[in-house]
């Protein structure tokens, strides 16, 4: 069976790496900005590199804010990566006054002042109660993070200065602060896991 993945092009993300990672998982991946594709494709990925403001501006100009919220409300499989995860939150220290998608009811804050920023490199993810394959090293490239998971969400943690939310999950929505597409074989197993859990596609 073909596993279709639509990767949203917000203009700045490393979509080539994301797309290659899904091809290695045997998926057909398309990079898209099309509302119908984001609504209907079996699986949707919201990647992101760059600023919170630019990411939200891209989603807004493409008319994808509502489409994504509705898809998530209906339980349609979505994987958000790095800035993609932050865009799901209510707002961010990075861009005061800019509203996020508000799916995750929490604000993104700057990493601690006493660590090198951005956090570039591999850090340990403790899977907590999430469906991640196991504890493992993931690749990070972030200056901002979600400090705590709001109630009702499963989450994994990593420590850089202080502990922060490495990944957050509810149903078939999985959001990772790290880059699974760049996290070697551990990341590949994570993607496989999300693909097989979201096998059922979008509930009607």
């Amino acid at each position: 069976m073909t596993r279709d993945v639509a990767i949203i092009a917000t203009g700045t993300a490393n979509t080539a790496s994301v797309s290659a990672a899904f091809r290695r998982c045997g998926c057909t991946s398309r990079i898209t900005t099309d509302r119908a594709e984001v609504r209907e494709t079996g699986r949707v990925v919201l990647p992101g590199v760059g600023s919170f403001e630019a990411g939200m501006a891209a989603l807004r100009s493409l008319g994808l804010e509502e489409t994504l919220r509705k898809r998530i409300d209906r339980g349609g499989p979505v994987l958000a990566i790095c800035l993609g995860m932050q865009l799901l939150c209510s707002g961010s220290d990075e861009s005061p006054g800019v509203e996020g998608l508000g799916v995750i009811d929490a604000d993104v804050r700057r990493l601690d002042a006493d660590v090198r920023v951005p956090q570039f490199g591999w850090n340990m993810v403790h899977r907590g109660n999430t469906s991640l394959p196991d504890d493992g090293y993931a690749y990070y490239a972030n200056s901002f993070c979600l400090a705590n998971a709001p109630e009702g969400w499963k989450h994994a943690t990593t420590t850089y200065g202080s502990p922060f939310v490495a990944a957050i999950e509810r149903g078939s929505l999985l959001a990772c602060q790290f880059h699974p597409e760049l996290s070697g074989s551990w990341g590949a197993r994570l993607l496989e896991g999300w693909l097989s859990r979201s096998e059922a596609g979008i509930p009607c």
């Binding site: 790496s17 920023v117 570039f120 490199g121 591999w122 690749y139 200056s143």
Partner: protein, 252 residues
């Protein structure tokens, strides 16, 4: 805890890996796709590709090489060499680079860093600084054009400026040590590390794990090496095992 990174560097020209002391005396050292995968399997934390072609045709080939490496590589890929504009950067990012390294173009036009940061994000912008000790005074100056041009610009101050302009990481090569195997320039690392909060990749001079350990102690977040891996003097796996034994946190 954030681990320390070990990064093999592939110098490529016309679709092949080449080696030599930077741009002189280049010889063929294999297929970039095969080498990049081999390094990933051996535990490399990241791969840097440096395009050392000098021609427009060479640039096109490099873009194809980046795409071919991306297809098999599931760790981060930084590409540098000849990035002179936003378009150059976009072309490499679209081909599959996760970060682009900017060197001489940012020296002659510092606003390029700011433009890049705005357009592709700080996390994708690596400022590559080639630094040489000043012959007759304290400190280091930036060199360009394969070390043939001494710019007079203070390397440490440039690292701090690059951070302010929007670079997300510093790839710091000691021109005095590059290719010598005498170890990284630790004074240069200490001075740069004190001047910027950006992560620093140490480059130039490593011949083994003890040099890398010294670099980490001097403030490097990552170490880059080329010849010792190409020549199979040692492997990434061996280096990381030695680092771990010495108490450095690495991804094994």
């Amino acid at each position: 805890m954030l681990t320390r990174r070990v990064i093999p560097c592939l110098d490529i020209r016309d679709g092949r890996v080449v080696k030599g002391v930077r741009f002189s005396g280049l010889r063929d050292a294999g297929d970039p796709v095969e080498q990049a995968s081999r390094y990933e399997r051996a535990g490399a934390d990241e791969i840097v590709i440096l395009d050392v072609s000098a021609t427009p045709q060479g640039r096109d080939t490099a873009t194809e090489t980046v795409a071919a490496v991306r297809e098999v590589l599931s760790i981060p890929l930084t590409v540098g060499g000849g990035v002179r504009s936003l378009d150059d950067a976009q072309r490499l990012l679209s081909a599959g680079a996760d970060k682009v390294g900017v060197n001489s173009a940012a020296i002659s036009r510092p606003s390029l860093l700011a433009d890049l940061a705005r357009r592709v994000g700080t996390q994708c912008v690596v400022v590559a600084i080639d630094a040489a000790r000043r012959p007759d005074s304290e400190g280091w100056e930036v060199v360009t054009r394969s070390g043939t041009t001494r710019t007079g610009i203070d390397a440490i101050a440039w690292a701090a400026d690059a951070e302010r302009l929007g670079a997300g990481e510093v790839l710091l090569t000691s021109w005095d040590r590059d290719g010598t195997g005498e170890g990284y320039d630790l004074d240069l690392l200490r001075a740069t590390s004190a001047a910027t909060r950006l992560p620093i990749i140490a480059s130039g001079g490593a011949s083994g794990a003890p040099h890398m350990l010294d670099a980490f102690n001097a403030g490097a977040d990552a170490v880059l090496a080329a010849s010792i891996f190409h020549d199979a003097v040692t492997s990434v796996a061996d280096i990381k095992a030695q680092l771990a034994r010495a108490g450095t946190e690495v991804r094994l």
